[in-house]
């Protein structure tokens, strides 16, 4: 009950489907506000990777990461949980320029930084992350609420989400004024 959990949406909301992780956590935020009052849950969104994971995740006991993935045979809109042993393939969790997610976790451990002991990674197959655009493609867009509901159900199953009092939200990614974003930093 006292475990602190972060739900982190990753992506870039100006690259069509790339922002799906962010869209999904916004939806999760909607659901939790309506159906639950969870005081130990923090929802964040970020367009970052590598070392930044250490700063983003430090201090939490559990982390739920939502990101986009684009595999050869993937069907856009299909979503699933990624086996943490195979962390590399998601868009932001592997890196040429930076350290990858697994390395960030190990580095934090080596440095004695309090890092989540339990991590769940949910990804959605996307269609287009190479075109500038502020809206997802139709199949991806339709799957966003379904994925959010499935993640919430999954987290309830695992008892990572319980009823409590409130949900906090923070924003890392700048919000476009007058754009499609519904939330502001609290």
């Amino acid at each position: 009950m006292d475990s602190k959990t972060i739900i982190l949406g990753l992506g870039n909301t100006i690259l069509t489907d790339d922002g799906v992780g962010i869209y999904v956590v916004r939806k999760i935020d909607d659901i939790l506000r309506i159906t639950s009052h969870e005081s130990r849950i923090t929802i964040k969104e970020a367009s970052l990777g590598g070392f930044n994971f250490i700063d983003l995740l430090a201090g939490y006991d559990r982390a739920v990461i939502v990101d986009a993935i684009h595999t050869k045979d993937g069907k856009p809109g299909e979503f699933y949980e990624l086996d943490p042993a195979a962390l590399k393939p998601s868009a932001r969790l592997s890196s040429l320029h930076q350290i990858d997610f697994a390395t960030a976790c190990e580095l934090a451990k080596n440095m004695g930084i309090a890092f989540p002991k339990e991590i769940a990674i949910f990804v959605m197959e996307i269609e287009d992350e190479f075109s500038f655009g502020e809206k997802p493609t139709p199949r991806v867009g339709e799957a966003i609420p379904k994925m959010a509901e499935s993640i919430v159900a999954e987290l309830r199953n695992r008892e990572w989400i319980k009823s409590a009092t409130e949900t906090r939200r923070n924003t890392i990614q700048p919000q476009r004024r007058g754009g499609t974003e519904k939330y502001k930093k609290i």
């Binding site: 990777g49 250490i54 699933y80 949980e81 195979a86 590399k88 393939p89 592997s94 580095l107």
Partner: protein, 486 residues
């Protein structure tokens, strides 16, 4: 929900690819480097008020948002014909110096150092920052994390958020600096200078005192003469934020020096059928194919090329290291690509010193940090040095400031031709007929690529800075005979 495991990289669409083609004997005939490209930035920018672009372009890439924001804000200043107040200029450069310090720290410790500390042929699982801290000491990890965090803190103080800033605006900055904030940044800058000195010491101990590594740096597969580009101040010293673009030849002589708005007289872009990415070259010399040297218009825009293109560093400690590098590596210009790591940490020290210099300048807390645009907007170019090369933003607007057209030449794109050529040269140097192609050899090919710190997050505008890479070796019949994925 179903839970699955996925093979790494190889099954992913949209990753970078190095392809090496062998001839009948098994020597390297050719090597290509390919990445997917992002589409539609121009269309995306069209029809927006130009003042939105510094905020939007800072989101193109999760790796160097400050570089895009600064180049974009400078282009907006030019669109409106504004000379920004001195305090604004200093604040921008202050923020930019902190960004450089953090970014170069990441590259050196996470990507550059592992090859040298662990050795280029060390197993892949050890060739990373964890290996480095296990070998050199856990305090390094702490220093790296602290420096990065403090650089983000400077961005937070100046712009209200640690990353993806939005505070550089047409005419200056959105807020000034208070005396308390200034004191905190001064403390961070002092720590940064110490960290910069510490980094030179690590390089000295690990690389320079090891003859084998110095020999690799000086070796032929990693030696590649071209023209060198970099932004310089009025004394021809390296500057990241402002000045003129100077280009020197492989003979060290100045080829040209131009103001941002003149860039199209000096730089043109070549197109190849096998990639969407363009290949910029020096217009007055011309595109002569994938070849280096004084007769080819190919140039590099990297930390090393910035040092080559300048007459020195504007701060004392960095200048001393600058002199040492050229003395050690045989004078100017240095043509050895792996020296890019050395140049990068000299820039790291300069960034820290410059941060300290600027925060100690009394004008930094001045009240005039923005000039309001009053002229009719038209067209403007903004250039800064991104950590990965000269970054150019060019906008055209109507009289209301609505974007009609936009053109970007991003840092890594400058280096596209040199990267392709460096890969081929390294491949030809290390992969030989009759010798098995090992992972260690392929890593040595990749080292030539990695020294550029290529960031295809914005060169291709995709998967912000996080492009997986695959190295494929083909025999003469185009069968894949070796594969390395990361």
């Amino acid at each position: 929900m179903k839970r699955i495991s996925i093979d790494p990289v190889t099954r992913l669409e949209g990753h970078g690819k190095i392809e090496i083609f062998l001839d009948d004997r098994g020597d390297v005939a050719n090597a290509y480097f390919q990445v997917p490209e992002l589409r539609g930035f121009e269309k995306f920018a069209e029809g927006r008020p130009v003042e939105e672009l510094p905020r939007i372009t800072s989101r193109i890439c999760g790796v160097c948002p400050e570089a895009h924001m600064m180049a974009s804000a400078k282009a907006c200043d030019a669109v409106y014909g504004i000379e920004i107040p001195s305090t604004a200029k200093k604040l921008r450069e202050l923020q930019y110096s902190a960004f450089y310090l953090g970014d170069h720290t990441t590259h050196f410790y996470a990507l550059g150092a592992p090859d040298f500390v662990m050795g280029p042929d060390a197993p892949k699982a050890e060739r990373n920052i964890i290996g480095v801290i296990k070998k050199v000491g856990v305090e390094i990890g702490g220093q790296v994390i602290k420096t990065r965090r403090e650089c983000h803190e400077v961005a937070q103080i100046l712009g209200g958020k640690p990353v993806n800033p939005v505070n550089a605006i047409p005419g200056g900055m959105s807020k000034g600096l208070t005396k308390d904030e200034r004191a905190r940044i001064e403390q961070i800058a002092r720590d940064g200078v110490e960290f910069g000195k510490f980094t030179q010491k690590i390089f000295e101990d690990v690389v320079l005192k090891n003859k084998a590594y110095v020999d690799i740096i000086l070796s032929d597969p990693y030696t590649f003469p071209t023209y060198y580009m970099g932004l310089v101040d009025e004394k021809n010293k390296v500057n990241f934020y402002d000045g003129k673009v100077r280009v020197v030849g492989p003979d060290g002589k100045e080829h040209c020096k131009y103001a941002p708005h003149e860039y199209r007289e000096y730089v043109a872009e070549h197109v190849e059928p096998w990639t969407y990415l363009k290949f910029p070259y020096l217009k007055k010399i011309g595109w002569k194919g994938f070849t280096g040297g004084i007769d080819s218009g190919v140039y590099q825009a990297t930390p090393l090329s910035r040092l080559n293109a300048a007459d020195g560093m504007a701060t004392p400690l960095a200048q001393a290291e600058y002199d040492k590098m050229y003395k050690t590596l045989g004078g100017k210009p240095v043509k050895h690509n792996l020296a890019m790591h050395w140049a990068r940490i000299i820039e790291l020290l300069y960034a820290a010193e410059r941060l300290l210099e600027l925060v100690r300048d009394d004008e930094i807390t001045g009240p005039e940090y923005r000039a309001l645009p009053t002229k009719i907007p038209t067209e403007g170019v903004g250039i800064v040095e991104a950590p990965r090369g000269t970054l150019t933003h060019h906008y055209w607007t109507d009289e209301k400031g609505i974007v009609k057209k936009a053109n970007l030449i991003v840092g890594t794109t400058n280096n596209h031709a040199p990267i392709c050529m460096s890969i081929k040269k390294a491949a030809q140097g290390v992969i030989k007929a009759g010798k098995p192609v090992t992972e260690a050899l392929l890593n040595m090919v990749e080292m030539s690529f990695r020294s550029y710190d290529p960031c295809y997050g914005c060169a291709t505008h995709s998967l912000p800075g996080e492009m997986p890479l695959e190295v494929l070796v083909y025999d003469k019949d185009r069968n894949i005979v070796h594969k390395l994925a990361r």
